[in-house]
């Protein structure tokens, strides 16, 4: 079963000057294998790591990681509402 956390890491890497997995890994302090696992959806990163990745791309965390909810968010709880 794949992780319920979807992410845009791969796309964002390419949009940020074709950043390599190794370079991103060095910036956020993990191994390249962990970046590969995150991109493939095999590993859901911890909250601090997710924040570090988001800050590397200078984006809010929800633009990088999205939680795939079984039930759609109600407008009252949606951050965009």
């Amino acid at each position: 079963m794949k992780s319920e956390i979807r992410n845009q890491v791969r796309r964002l890497r390419f949009e940020n000057g074709e950043m390599t997995q190794q370079k991103l890994a060095d910036k956020v302090g993990v191994t390249r294998q962990t970046i590969i696992a995150i991109e493939a959806g095999k590993y859901a990163p911890s909250l601090p790591l997710a924040f570090r990745i988001a800050r590397t791309f200078t984006l809010p965390i929800e633009k990088v990681f999205q939680y795939q909810d079984e039930y759609p968010q109600s407008p009252a709880t949606s951050p965009d509402a």
Partner: protein, 171 residues
Amino acid sequence: MNKAQKIARFRLIVLTVAVMAIGIWTVVIMLVYHQDARVAYKVPGGKWVFFEEPTVYMALGVVFAGIVFFGLPSILLAGLLPLILFRAKQGQVAFDERDLLIDKKATLIAYQVAWFSLVAACPILICIAGGADALIPAVVFLPAVFGEAMVFLLVHSIEILLYYGGKDKKT
């Protein structure tokens, strides 16, 4: 392949060689020194007797000696040598949160397997001692401890390699 995988692979190789060495040692010793030992023989009346008690005890004794002779060096080699062989380069991240998570899962499973195998081995120790009311000779404890350490390291290494190979898609 990262540091944790390299260490696991190294440990798996060392311990597999040790297990094979114990097996070869047992067969050779039994063939050379206990040629009269019989695994199965026919008694008058056409009935077969398997695993005659003295043969089993002799074989277990040889296995236990093998565990001490080959098990201890393999545990030391598998436990300590990776600390020298697979040192991280300066400034390189060698172990992160995902590696820690995998290591924790593998340790938990290895501990469970080692514990259950020790419980399963206890009847053998009692048989060797000669019954529940007999004193278990101290010489039996050392191989039991080394054997459990080998089981732990083997299962731990296999689990780590399996997790990195995609056993659990959530890691």
